[in-house]
Chain length 492, copies 2
């Protein structure tokens, strides 16, 4: 057990014994470092861990506090069952991805992924840092001026428009434009199947809720995009992580074994430009996956948010396009390709359409009308293709730069993914590097990274990080990556 | 059993036996009326019932179709257990409200409230009808021009603002402005407790999810606002309806008996200007309610969306203001008082704040940023009070007009509520009038009403309707209400 793990365990015990009561302030980083005779870094790391476990929370300018009674109790339960063991888990020799043990774990019972993600996102906001840890695309690439003009014109025009117009399934013109877009891209869909949501987040949540119930087990990729884990956590389901190849995607044989071994209520995958691995699953494998799941009547939630950000010549196929039984619930949004702030997503739920439409109505009633119409107007009045050609070119270039720079600045034993689209790079660091420690050390230097812990319920990726390359490459960026490489070298 | 009930039961049986397969068209209204030798109205009513049960769906210009396999199966189960019995339930002699049997019913197992609500809302949209059935305030009363100006200015200013800025709990300035508003109204709150949501709908959903789990029983008012039933249905919980006095609100003695009789996970109420009854619960009773629930450690979700639309001199108190144990989850929004289309709501979740903030993050990630900032700007730059004084005056007047006109046009035996705020009137029609039949007949004349069935899981309110008086009173409105009165007289 590492020093910071020991310290975290001690603090957890102290909270359990009531030494530090809910709402109470725990010793400052400096105090703790003196009391325990450990470095500031060690304390920072231990506290970050306690925060990610939901035992303490930070308050700006005032330090770390034990969270409120209810939350703490829950967190302590989690910590009891798994936290301390989870953080001392050892990783095996497989590269870039892992071969997880074939057992489902309730997401909330593992290291608290959503809390870690939220605090990571906050750190991006808090510090005006170099955003290697950001999950977002560079917003300056969005045609925001144009879209805002449409929104403004609509708002003027529709003095008294209100919710009624765009009740689920959503604004008819927007639905038509989305269907047209799929058709242009060679993957025709039925407009009547589309349900507009609040970003892909809601589309994924409602799709999962439509096909599975609390306590059910859901198969996901390993590593998996944390939003998938959030959806599972939100519903109190269990996740089972399936080995995923960094180039071919989810291991279909491994998945078959999992299905043979236990009841799987649903499968959640990202066949195109998976976050964090960036692969594009080959068509043959997409078809195999759909057939395997179809044979067992298992619905699959396809997250295709990066569909427009391909580096190849054409938009990749979808699982949906191989689905003959209405078992694929296809989810996407405009947040990665057109505007993140309008939060317009959609689902193509196959045979579960009626339930998803109804759940949308129950969950958030309706998606705001003006953003729906504004996006529809933008899509109708051209420009989207030109915009996307530009964005793809930029990301393709920046992927190359980022890859070259990591090779240049990071120590031997570093491996990385080869993104086929999107804007994130998955980096495996030398075994001895702990990405949570790296995350803290980098943050102290105003650099953010995405710690590997966010992409698994079982901390399989402690020496991995995700790097965002959507933002312009500047001397500052380069200096930051150099610093990051130096930190890694020290820790290796 | 009434004729239309018999017909509905027969059709249900036919679908069950596969006479009409999923996706198949059922006989047209005219055909059915000939085949069964019943009136068009009876068939329309039977089909509306089948639709509200989720067994058939309408498709524009093409008639009624049996819904897809999955949906139909579920619907048939529901129909089997309760639909036919539910529609033949008899109502007792109590006035305006009912004394429900003290037994919980899973919302989805009762007449499908959310489906009926959605089709009612659609009918408002479909027909350019006189909107007595609308749940929305008159949007022309909103200061939309002003708010849109702010939104446009923000969109211009924030070239590259993105999600990060307003992650849960939400935009700090908006949170400050909401807290300031409460303070001005004499019900101070802690800004640190506020979580911004997508309308009150999401606030209520997340609050309920934070305090109860699927299968739990939740106590609600009778009649209850259907959004409460939606939240319960969304989570697969059970609702138990508690007698509610049209002036004093939920019957605290009855609630105490319910609590003594079974495990209640939470209570959901609308103490101010309850929809549909319009009462303002007296302070003494608010305090009693908080104390009763506190004594049993039962969390209560307080829906206070009409807080600003009072007819009295001051903003009424809240359950929150009597809460000393953090058990009140207070939910509200700007959708009734400022802008419906921006979908800005919030929760004050008491001791459950941490869970609600996290659930918000899991459910929809974040509430769109520009609307949050635009509303904050509007609130900061005055005008809200003046706007509200005007709106209150208008609604107070129109409540008087609507009341007088119902007295004038409706037959003897009609009773109605005395709204203390808000913009809906609850009307009890003579026993023999069936509000679903009235709903259909009125729709045929381009008039919408809110059928009583929407406000209960057990069809206790079949001869009740809700009337919206937020829209300007015009000769057309008056003619429509006269027509409605004539329909009621015929049916009585």
């Amino acid at each position: 057990m590492k020093l910071y793990e020991k310290l975290a365990a001690e603090m957890t015990e102290a909270v359990r014994r009531g030494v530090f009561a809910p709402g109470e302030r725990i010793p400052s980083v400096r105090q703790a470092s003196q009391q325990h005779g450990v470095s500031i870094k060690t304390v920072l790391h231990a506290y970050a861990l306690l925060e990610s476990l939901g035992i303490v929370e930070t308050r700006p300018q005032s330090g770390y506090f034990v969270r409120d009674a209810a939350a703490t109790a829950a967190a302590l339960d989690r910590a009891a069952v798994s936290a301390i063991s989870a953080i001392s888990a050892v990783s095996d020799q497989q590269r870039l991805t892992r071969q997880p043990a074939p057992q489902a774990s309730p997401v909330a019972a593992a290291v608290d992924v959503s809390r870690l993600v939220l605090s990571t996102l906050r750190s991006i906001r808090a510090h005006d840092a170099v955003p290697f840890g950001s999950p977002y695309p560079d917003p300056s690439l969005f045609p925001w001026r144009r879209i805002n003009q449409y929104a403004n014109a609509i708002a003027r025009r529709q003095a008294s428009w209100n919710l009624i117009d765009d009740l689920p399934p959503g604004n008819p013109e927007l639905i038509r434009q989305i269907a047209r877009r799929y058709a242009e891209n060679g993957v025709p869909v039925d407009p009547g199947e589309i349900v507009i949501t609040l970003g892909a987040t809601e589309a994924i949540n409602l799709s999962l809720q439509a096909v599975a119930k609390p306590g059910d087990t859901v198969a996901v990729e390993s590593p998996t995009y944390y939003a998938m884990l959030h959806a599972i956590e939100r519903m109190g389901m269990r996740a089972i992580e399936v080995a995923t190849h960094p180039v071919h995607g989810i291991d279909i044989e491994a998945l078959a074994r999992v299905i043979a071994g236990q009841k799987i209520a649903a499968c959640m995958v990202m066949p195109n430009f998976q976050n964090p691995l960036g692969f594009q699953m080959p068509d043959a494998r997409k078809q195999q996956l759909v057939e395997l799941l179809g044979a067992h009547d298992i619905p699959v939630i396809e997250n295709d948010v990066y569909q427009e950000l391909y580096f190849g010549d054409t938009r990749p196929s979808t699982l949906k396009s191989f689905d003959t039984r209405g078992l694929v619930l296809h989810c996407a949004s405009f947040s990665k390709s057109l505007t993140a702030s309008y939060r317009i997503g959609w689902a193509l739920p196959g045979r579960y359409r009626a339930q998803v439409e109804k759940l949308k109505f129950l969950n958030t009633l309706t998606t705001p009308s003006v953003p729906q119409v504004a996006v529809a107007d933008y899509l109708r009045h051209d420009g989207y293709d030109r915009h996307l050609r530009h964005v793809r070119k930029v990301y393709r270039q920046q992927a190359r730069i980022m890859t070259a720079m990591v090779q240049r600045f990071f120590p031997a034993g570093t491996r990385m993914s080869t993104p086929q689209g999107g804007y994130v790079l998955w980096v495996e660091l030398p075994e001895r590097v702990d990405s949570m420690r790296l995350y803290q050390a980098a943050l102290a230097r105003s650099i953010t990274v995405g710690p590997g812990m966010m992409f698994s319920t079982r901390n399989d990726y402690r020496h991995f990080i995700r790097l965002n390359y959507s933002y312009p490459w500047t001397p500052q960026t380069e200096a930051a990556l150099k610093t990051l490489g130096e930190l890694v070298t020290q820790m290796a």
